[in-house]
Structure formats: structure tokens, C-alpha cells
């Protein structure tokens, strides 16, 4: 990346951050507060009332980490979808690499994830979660979710230029995704093996389970547990790769016409 592009990227991320909580009294605190409040609600309803996650050690933290990763995916793809159209003023009047706009939204989502993980870490210490030697491996599932979200952002942002319905459709998909991903319930709650496999084909589900395994408890059911030794345990990674390159290629083919189509 050239020096100019780096400067532009950092300026775009900076602007994004400054504008995000524009005019709100609590400002940046919201990027921590909103996942925490959501966590509080889900915790009371699902853990205290419905008693999900009985038998899973440190279930509240387990739940929080899932929410944080899911929120990262949700925020990045939602903001990615509208990134190009939202920055139409730049695209119509200046020549900057188009991908940079999507990339800058992905970076601000990443920074937010970092902040949220600090909260998770604080809870882990407070909750006396034992240190696992697999903790450094946490980086891999997070990277996987990032690559998937980036690929989806590229695809969706380019589609959104032509079809404004895309954002509504994607919102519905995300809603469904929240329930078919084992975020609020432990995967062990599903007893049907085929169903478990279907759930774990979803890369976000697989990544969340792997992250929990690495950071919180080895009692987590991961993709390799579900799929056994079969080659199809690589399906989620295949989906991530396909989403990334597919998104990138579609974005590249469309980006030439963004200026006239917006």
C-alpha cells in the first residue's frame, strides 16, 4: 500500500470513529455498553429464567464471547453494505481505490472488536476463568470471521449500489443467523447429530465454538467434534474462502461503474 493510501485509510477510520457516536452523551462508551446490555438481557432471560447452559462451565463468559463475535460480524457486514453508497460523495468526485472505503469500515469494526475483547478479558479475570494454553489460538477463529465478513461486505456493498433491497434482505438473514448459530444456547443442547453438523457448516458458528474452546473451556463442542475426522470438517473454511474471493471478484467487476450507478 502506498504512503498516500495509508494516510487516507487512517483518516477514513478516524472520521468513522469520530462520527459514530456523534452527539451522544456517552460517546465511545456505547461501543462497550451496547454489547454488555444485550448480554445482560440474554443472560437474565436465557441463563436465569430458561436455565440454558447448565453444565457448561463459565457459561456467562461463554455467552458473552459468542455475542461479541457475532456482533462483530453483524456490525461489519451491516456497515460494509452501505459503505459505498454512503460515501457516494467521494466516489463521484475523486479517484480513490474503491475497496479502501469498505476496508476502512472493516478496520473500525475491528477496533471495536478489540475494545469488546478487553471487556471479555476483564470478565474472565473477574470470573476466575482459568488460563488456557490454547488462548493464543483465539486469533485464528477471529481472523476467520474477519475474512468472511470482509468478503461479504465487498459483495453486499457492490450489490447495494444496484439493489437497495439488499440491506433489508441481509438484516433478515442476520436475524435468522443469530438463532441458527449457537450463541445463546450451547451446541450440546441439540441432540440430533445431523442438525449439529448442519449448524456447524456455518463458518460463524464454527468460529465462535473454536474461540470458546480456545479461550474459555475445552468442554466446548467444536467443529472437529461434530464432524469427526471427515474431510467435510473443512467445509466452513471453504465457504469463507469462496465468500472472500467471490466478494472480491464481484466488487472488482462492479467498482468501475460505482460512480455512475450510485
Amino acid at each position: 500500500m502506498t504512503k498516500q493510501n495509508r494516510a487516507l485509510l487512517s483518516e477514513l477510520v478516524r472520521t468513522d470513529f469520530k462520527l459514530r457516536y456523534q452527539g451522544s452523551a456517552l460517546g465511545y462508551a456505547w461501543s462497550l455498553l451496547s454489547p454488555l446490555l444485550m448480554f445482560a438481557i440474554l443472560y437474565v432471560v436465557f441463563v436465569k429464567f430458561l436455565r440454558l447452559g447448565n453444565g457448561v462451565p463459565h457459561y456467562p463468559i461463554y455467552l458473552l464471547l459468542g455475542i461479541v463475535i457475532w456482533n462483530f460480524f453483524l456490525e461489519m457486514t451491516m456497515q460494509g453494505t452501505t459503505a459505498i453508497v454512503g460515501r457516494g460523495d467521494l466516489i463521484r468526485k475523486i479517484r480513490i481505490p474503491r475497496w479502501m472505503i469498505v476496508f476502512s469500515t472493516s478496520l473500525s469494526a475491528l477496533i471495536n472488536l478489540g475494545l469488546n475483547l478487553v471487556v471479555v478479558a476483564a470478565f474472565m479475570i473477574f470470573n476466575k476463568v482459568g488460563f488456557l494454553d490454547t488462548l493464543p489460538l483465539l486469533i485464528f477463529p477471529l481472523f476467520e470471521v474477519y475474512v468472511l465478513a470482509l468478503g461479504m461486505s465487498l459483495l453486499l456493498s457492490a450489490l447495494f449500489v444496484k439493489y437497495r433491497d439488499v440491506s433489508y434482505i441481509w438484516q433478515i438473514i442476520l436475524q435468522a443467523g443469530f438463532y441458527i448459530t449457537p450463541i445463546i444456547y450451547p451446541l450440546s443442547l441439540i441432540t440430533n447429530v445431523t442438525l449439529q453438523k448442519l449448524i456447524m457448516i456455518n463458518p460463524v458458528a464454527q468460529a465462535i465454538q473454536d474461540a470458546r474452546y480456545a479461550a474459555i473451556t475445552h468442554a466446548t463442542t467444536t467443529g472437529s467434534n461434530v464432524f469427526g475426522g471427515g474431510y467435510y470438517k473443512y467445509t466452513p473454511f471453504l465457504i469463507v474462502t469462496a465468500a472472500f474471493f467471490g466478494g472480491l471478484m464481484y466488487f472488482k467487476s462492479q467498482s468501475k461503474y460505482f460512480a455512475e450507478n450510485i
Binding site: 504512503k3 498516500q4 494516510a7 483518516e11 472520521t15 469520530k18 452527539g23 479517484r95 433491497d165 439488499v166
Partner: protein
Amino acid sequence: MSDDIAIKIEGISKTFKLPHEKAGSIKNTLIGFARRKRGYELQEVLKDVTFDIKKGEFFGIVGRNGSGKSTLLKLISGIYTPSNGSITVNGKLTPFIELGVGFNHELTGRENVYLNGALLGFSRSEMELLYDDIVAFAELERFMDQKLKNYSSGMQVRLAFSIAIRVKTDILILDEVLAVGDESFQRKCLDVFEEYKRNKKTIVLVTHDMATVRRFCTKAVLIHDGKLISEGKTEEVTEGYTKLNQESIDNQVPQIQDHEPSDLVIALKNTENKNTKRFEYGEDLRVELSWPKTKKVNAAGVTINTSMGECAYATNTFIDKQNVTTNKIICSFKLNLGAGKYYIMAGTFLDRPESQVDFVTHGPSFFINQESRIKGEGITRLDHEWRQS
């Protein structure tokens, strides 16, 4: 490509798809697909345009509204992609389609300076060095920590402009940036243009202001209906443009009501006493004023205005010490005016200029056809000669 060429444009065409209604929904696309109907119309905005811009040239692209000149500019800038043909750019190119691109009203002046600077290719450390100069030039020291939404539009333009002129680049693309701002700001712009010209930078200017083109451009092209219709020296191209405008004004003339109805009737005639609207430079124009016999009139006045409403010449019977006794008076003018459209303003009076009887503020208009053999600028063309001693 030879080294002295900055931009090479070869056989550029651009076709836009214009959707019939906002077809930006999947439902419409599906319906359109099922009916085998295209949801858009194709509009060819540029047709096979070819020309070169050499290094160090101040190059004008002129054309009327909707001629395709702005599209051409965006193609050169790399914002649009041509449907056909190719554009090769030799060197770093910075487009100014608009001043203050990316300005955000919720950010402070300071934050906007850094953001806009980054969009123009400056790093943060470079901007830190330039920052004080930019603020001083814009004369906005006291306002930099206020949000941009609290700036007046003039202040915003000043800030944007003072960032823009810091850009170090080989080729600058300017799109009628001059159209905004007050007179002192426009003068600042012109000074900067002069500076660029002295430094032998390559500038591409898109405008329909012929005075600017004539003042700065060394070469120009004229675009009309998406085609390049003339290319070369600035004078030839601007003359072509004036002619083009003339034709279109002529076509419009019958549709507009020429002047308001009044008891004072104004007729324009040539030396052969024929009603006409077209005159050559130096020809005689006879302005006939007549009014009903019942009206008492002692004096009359005639003004020739340019189409912009500027007074080219005004006279009356008071100044010329004429006494009006009939109900019809003729004033003959020798038209040593530049090419263009003019209109008559006339009035009748009693004994004093304050005692108006009838007054026509926008009377019949006429045209001076061709540019006279006398070259130059301004409303009139004066016979002149240069002598050296």
C-alpha cells in the same frame, strides 16, 4: 507515448444506462426480466473523441450544458470508465470536480482539513507542516475548532480552496471551480491559475466562461453533443463556441415574448428601413419610437443594453437638446459593438427626466452577427492602432 504528452485520449466513447424509473430494486429487475423488457435506456454521451494534451499546456474543454464535457472530465480523472477507447495519463493527476470533497459538517474545521488533505494525497505529517499556512490563507484562525456546519458557505469554500492549492501534482483537472465564491475569491482563484501557468503545469479546465478560457488557455477543444467539433488555438475554439450559442439563441427567439406591451412602440430597422434583428458590426441601427397622438410627449430616451443587462450606450433628447413635437421619433446608431445579443430600453417624458410618460425596460432585442474585424474584449470594438516611437 512520446514524453511530452501528458494525457492521450484515443477514441473515447461513453454510454450511460439510464433507468426508466428507479429500477434499483430486485423486484423491478425480476419483473423486467420476466417481461423481457429493458429497464433502462442507453444514452451515448461521448462519441469517439480523440485528442492529446501536451505537458505544460493550459488546456480548455468548452461546450454548452449537456454537451458531455463534464463526463469527459470525469473519464480523464478516472472516476468513470470509458465504454470504448483508452485514456493514458503520464504523471500524477489530481481532479478538482468540486472543492472540499469529503467535507463533513459534523467534524470541526481542523478535522476536515486533515480529512480533505488525505483525500488529496497528503500524509498526516505533511498536513501538520502545511496546516498553519492553510488556516492563515483561509483567514479562519478563530474558527478551526468549530464544527463545519457552523461555517458560512463562503468560509467553507475558502477553507477548501486553501487546501486545494497546496496540492503538488503534475496534472490538475479543474471543473468550473470558479463558479462559486465572491469576487475577491474569484480573483484569488485567477491568481493561482496564473501561478500554475507560470510554473508550466499541465492544467485541464472545463468551463463555459469564455473570458477565462481566452485569458488562460493555450489550447482548447470544443465538445458539442458528445462529439469533438473543433480543436486547436483558443481563439478559434472560442469563436466556434460563440457561434454555437448564437445559433441556439436564434432558435429560441420566436418562443420568448420579446418585450412588454406598452403605449410606447419600439421598432428596429436597418438603413433600408426594413424590420430586422440581425446587424453587422458598424451597420446603422434605426430605433423608431412611436406613441398614440393623444399622448403628450416632449422628450424621449433610448438605451442599448447587453444581454446581461449592462448599459452599452444610453442617450436622450434632453442631452442632445432635441425638442420632440411629433408622435414618432427615430434615433440612428452606428453599431460598433462586439458580437452578441443586445436589447433596447426606451422611455418617453414630459419636460423633465423625472416626468415619465411611458417606459419599456426590456424592449426588442437584436444581434450583432459576426465578430468584427477588430479583435479584442469588451462591449464595444474601437478602431485603434499601435504606434511605436
